[in-house]
């Protein structure tokens, strides 16, 4: 029998919303549940309104579900904003001293007073709240206490356990109605609870990335932080640069000299990097660039999500040169696609752009773990005197049928490695000669032939003969799949075509899938319908409509289903 539990913790920045959310998610994950959690916060250090949503189930989950079973309100604003999202049998648990109950099931708990009295520190009100929420479910307190202990550590951990117990006991004694949930540990959960950028960072290290340069920018910063933290143990050099321009140019320089290199940024930081994208293109230097999208233009909404950079990263920079664009669909996918990004970059000697976004970066999900024996590190064709001739004859940009010239690294052999941001000939020296120019442009573009073969076919979810095909890309995958399930519960005949490798564009596959559908709708987090334009450009095919969201908030499965129904059944504009 399916078990579903949906929580929200809300409050001001500084109240420990994130800690409660993380501890709750971790407790349920360790208890054997599949967990999905996302965060909503403002670009400020104190105050404002933040919330953390947690969904747990005995079945795999990949998106948030509405309505809520338990709303944990650390302040009144949370009650005001979210009480309508609580299910009929759900409960709002709130701080007696800071909030007013409304109609429905409310449990007032003196979070702050109990924290002060029992744990000796009012700051632990959030752990009291966590305990109270757990008390409403009847979950095993000792199991939760272990997580709290480990999360905070040391004496602080013990004090937080005391606070958790106080909240748990208070809720157990004082809540008289029917429990909104009955949860118990399902076993010893071995799954990993991580977010999209954890997976990107881990994927990069697994892929053998040993150089990273970056400049802090939300939501890409955690990649830089994670790699910095583990640089010593993982034999990496990680540089916090003076700006994003330096970051990409450093990654390119390190890569040229033989390291496996990456950088990570967001929107306007990526704008600064664009000059470097072209440098990687013309010098044929592998580089992996993570562009963690957030709503733009310019500074936009720093702590919100959007898929608004697709056409930008496909077209940014003057001139024609090959690149690859990958957009992970999920946390697990982020790990494997990051490895693929490094391999494509090295094999085809070009920039590979990974499009993540704030939602993927900050959403947590339980994953089964990663089989490291399946990780393949492909550095591409590298120069050796035995295979490619004497070093005196080495040409960095040798014209070949595949467009790929064997790569030598400066100082590792006696071959001189010469390249230039100016147009150059095979030897890498700058030229203005028309024939050599044409030859090099064509040689670089020929790499697209091989690169195109590497694109995995897009995923189709749902019945193959569906009347209506939804088309999505990147991080909306989890919500989209579940929306298909919701839509197909009635008389609907829907399926999903989902893209995670966007360039080179899998034109033939997309064309043949869309051919089978009566109607097709893109579902994207942007205002222009950028995927729709890309499909039109690459297949000549017009979609029938667009389900777009650009308020900075992520799609939810039920939200998509409602918008799609509106489009399909009430004939909407496109």
């Amino acid at each position: 029998m399916p078990v579903e539990a949906n929580f929200m913790v809300g409050g001001e920045a500084g109240q420990g919303v994130q800690s409660v959310g993380a501890v709750l998610a971790k407790t349920l994950a360790r208890g054997g549940y599949h967990v999905f959690a996302d965060q909503d916060y403002e670009s400020r250090i104190r105050g404002g309104h933040n919330f953390f949503r947690i969904r747990a189930s005995n079945m795999p989950v990949a998106a948030i579900k509405e309505p809520l079973d338990i709303l944990v309100a650390l302040n009144q604003e949370t009650i005001d904003l979210h009480r309508m999202e609580v299910a009929p049998g759900g409960v709002v648990v709130y701080d007696q001293e800071k909030g007013q109950p409304g109609e429905g099931n409310y449990l007032g708990v003196p979070f702050t007073r109990l924290a002060q009295e029992k744990a000796g520190n009012r700051i632990m009100a959030n752990s009291v709240a966590f305990g109270a929420a757990l008390g409403l479910t009847g979950y095993d307190l000792d199991a939760a206490a272990n997580i709290v202990r480990g999360f905070f550590g040391g004496d602080v951990g013990e004090a937080n356990v005391t606070a958790t117990r106080a909240g748990y006991d208070y809720a157990t004694e004082n809540f008289k109605g029917e429990r909104p949930l009955n949860l118990k540990p399902l076993g010893d959960g071995k799954r990993l609870l991580m977010n999209g950028h954890d997976a990107v960072a881990l994927g990069a290290i697994a892929a053998g990335c040993n150089f990273m340069a970056g400049y802090p920018m939300t939501p890409a910063t955690p990649i830089l932080e994670y790699l910095s933290t583990h640089a010593k143990d993982m034999d990496m050099a990680v540089v916090q640069t003076e700006d994003e321009i330096s970051a990409i140019n450093m990654a390119i320089g390190a890569s040229f000299a033989g390291a496996r290199a990456m950088t990570a940024t967001s929107g306007s930081g990526f704008c600064l990097m664009v000059e470097g994208v072209g440098l990687a293109g013309i010098t044929e230097t592998p580089v992996v660039i993570v562009n963690a999208q957030r709503p733009g233009p310019a500074v936009g909404l720093p702590t919100r999500t959007e898929q608004g950079d697709l056409l930008f990263v496909l077209h940014c920079h003057q001139g024609d040169f090959p690149r690859a664009v990958l957009a992970p669909a999920s946390v697990e996918d982020a790990f494997w696609l990051t490895i693929k990004a490094f391999n494509l970059a090295d094999k085809y000697q070009l920039p590979v752009i990974m499009l993540t976004d704030h939602y993927l970066a900050t959403s947590y999900i339980t994953v089964d773990g990663f089989d490291l024996s399946k990780v393949v590190i492909d550095r591409g064709e590298t120069y050796s005197p035995e295979r490619h001739g004497p070093p005196q004859e080495y040409k960095r940009h040798k014209v070949t049928g595949s467009g790929i010239s064997p790569r030598a690294f400066p100082g590792l052999t006696e071959a001189l490695v010469v390249t230039d941001s100016d147009e150059h000939d095979e030897t890498g020296h700058l030229i203005e000669d028309a024939r050599a120019r044409t030859e090099q442009v064509e040689k670089r573009l020929r790499k697209l032939n091989g690169l195109g073969q590497e694109t995995s076919p897009p995923e189709v979810y749902g019945p193959p003969n569906a009347e209506t095909t939804l088309v999505g890309w990147g991080s909306t995958w989890g919500a989209l799949r579940e929306s298909i399930d919701i839509l197909n519960r009635g008389n609907g005949k829907f399926n999903l075509l989902h893209l995670r490798e966007l360039w080179p564009f899998p034109s033939e596959a997309v064309n043949s899938i869309l051919q089978q559908a009566k109607r097709s709708y893109v579902v994207e987090s942007n205002a222009a319908g950028q995927l729709a334009r890309l499909i039109r450009a690459e297949t000549g095919r017009l979609v029938d409509g667009k389900v777009l969201k650009y308020d900075g908030r992520p799609f939810t499965p039920s939200g998509i289903a409602e918008q799609v129904k509106e489009e399909v059944y009430h004939g909407a504009k496109s």
Binding site: R30, R191, L192, L193, D198, L202, I205, A206, A207, G208, N210, F211, A213, A231, K232, D233, M234, D235, M236, A237, V239, T241, E242, D243, I245, S246, A247, N249, M250, A251, I252, G253, A254, F256, A257, G258, A259, R260, A261, E275, G276, L279, T283, F370, L372, I377, P391, P410, G411, L412, E414, A415, L416, V417, V418, D420, S421, D422, H429, L430
Partner: protein, 290 residues
Amino acid sequence: MALRVEQPVTMESYAGLKPAWCPGCGNFGILRALNKALVEMKVQPWQLLMVSGIGQAGKLPHYSRGNTFNSLHGRAVPPAVAAKIANPELVVIVIGGDGDGYSEGGNHFLHVLRRNHDITHIVHDNQVYALTKGQASPTSDEGYVSKTTPGGALPPLNALGVAIMAGATFVARTFAGDLDHAARTIQEGVRHRGFALIDVLQPCVTFNHVNTFKWYSERVYKLDERGHNPQDKMAALEVVQQWGERIPIGVIYREQRPTYEDRIPALKKGPLAKQVIDPQRIAPLFQEFQ
């Protein structure tokens, strides 16, 4: 810097393509001085990485011989320092002009100094934008009239003063018209463990009719002949303020500090470029996610 000595290195080893510079250009002197310094240090071309920017100076690596990354305008320093991190066995020399290093590359210039990467940055300082045909540069003298500064240029950037205050560990100036001095200064810069900034007074025969060979020759004097102590920071800051009638050349400031590469634990196992990576190494990292 550890140099491996194998086959003999001669000026012939550094004979590159035929330069496309104007006849009489100050760049020829710098090219000769650089090659001479490399030959004297017995650096093999394959052990050398020249990273250049854009401008007439940026073409220099093509006219010498070695591993070459001819980068974007103003962006030579970031790839150069990263290449040094990837392979500290390389002798890394950045080559660019005053516009490239001090203007377009200004932010990199400021921050690379305090990080003290073990590379050498040679600035061909002709006080003018030559490749774009004669506009004022950040080091043009005050009042310099050009197409973009018809009313005369603003006061120049004191790049060497900025460098000392920004944490440079080696700051020198030399003159393209004095081959021996330039070659010696470049050698000292390359041998210095840390970031070496070498500003080279470079006459532009086509666009700068004020700061000519004659103009520089009449003004330069050698600091080492005047008992200047490069370890004295206050004295160095006094030296960088001299300009006009008398122009000091030589090593202006020098200090020893750990290099950026010294601070990277991963490099204790050798160059990153030579390290073989096993994906299994990440297995322990999964624990914190359980």
